[in-house]
Symmetry: C2
């Protein structure tokens, strides 16, 4: 059973790489910088995006591609902030997958107004395992980990922490009420992914969100320079 | 790509059902009640087990089968409480799967002292999607959802909430510091899985854990009556 499955997964990953490249070419042609945003269910990915979008990023038009197993709760939350939001449901046509892949993103692209965007954030399905295995054509990968999840997560899900270019440690407003050691968490992130950039934020109070905005603006500026 | 994948997943699920039955027969022969414990990363599954085991359940000998992608952090925590703990890593030999399946559990059974147990808790990989799709031979499925994850999780991951016989709402000690409505969360759990049993607990303070102990004792007593 497992041998057959592994072979098919390898085939699928190859097809994924081909489709991810095609997505990337489309993004590049439109000058759109793309971020794949990942994290566990309830880490606060949507709340962070709400904070980023509410004040906006100077000179950067933001759009969202929202991945969920089903429903459009998060897309509805973000659409209230008057940015273009497109929903992908993995339950409808994709077997209820626990992650986005390049084919799912490709199938949604016709509905994304790339001409009107500078930055597209793809919010992945809440999961610390499989999303890290599937590139979707993104320029960078960002993960959100909530301090409430405990300081052991980098050691238990190292592939996810290693896959990301920025780790956002969220819900720091709750630190006084937890038995979680923020310094130990940051040390462990650095242990599994040496020198990865980290930002400590509260999606609830907005603390630290400016640093995320700055990081996204620099990412887009760096891509614009390369393409110019 | 997807058609091939779906067919193989169906084959895999059939094989899984056969192996789950074989596991169940082994558990039944030893009179061991088995719980498949699921939840998102950081929901507090291990902390809840620590609380349950610390005081124990009268007349019920507890053992743990601990599923993680890699490492043995949780198994080490639980072994300190002097119960038999067996570790399954999905990264070693199982391709880094984001869930346990019946074959993985079967491969670990030789290392589980079933003769010395009344209750085996199988702690699944932290994930709200795929673990709900794979039975492993359990008598009951229990999920832990932390109030910190937000009140939208039943609507976003309904299959998981529907799959479970008991939903434990954890980290209620943090409720005063959150913008999360506990009543709304409980209403939504009831909406996606009408009349499912729920228990509100704090794995940190121990509040409500007695109700979980009681539920597990009743589950084991009911199975013992059926088999007598």
């Amino acid at each position: 059973m497992h041998r057959v499955k592994v072979r098919v997964v390898e085939d699928a990953l190859d097809a994924n790489a081909t489709l991810a490249k095609a997505n990337r070419a489309d993004f590049d042609r439109h000058g759109v910088t793309v971020v794949n945003l990942m994290g566990a269910p309830g880490a606060g990915k949507t709340a962070l995006l709400e904070q980023v979008i509410a004040e906006g990023i100077d000179g950067v038009r933001i759009g969202i591609l929202e991945g969920d197993v089903e429903g459009s709760l998060d897309a509805d939350r973000l659409a209230r902030l008057h940015v273009p939001v497109t929903q992908i449901n993995t339950a409808a046509g994709f077997g209820g997958e626990c992650h986005l892949d390049a084919n799912m993103v490709r199938s949604a692209l016709a509905a994304v107004p790339l001409d009107e965007l500078d930055l597209l954030v793809i919010e992945n399905v809440g999961n610390l395992v499989c999303p890290a295995e599937f590139r979707v054509g993104e320029d960078a990968r960002v993960m959100v980990t909530a301090i409430t999840e405990g300081e052991d997560k980098p050691l238990k899900y190292p592939l996810m922490f290693r896959a990301c270019d920025l780790v956002v440690v969220n819900k720091v407003d709750l630190a006084p009420h937890l038995d979680v050691d923020l310094d130990l968490l940051l040390d462990r992130i650095d242990k599994v992914h040496p020198d990865v950039e980290t930002v400590v934020v509260s999606g609830r109070t907005g603390q630290g969100v400016d640093a995320v905005r700055h990081w996204l603006r620099e990412l887009h500026a760096a891509k614009a320079v390369v393409e110019a």
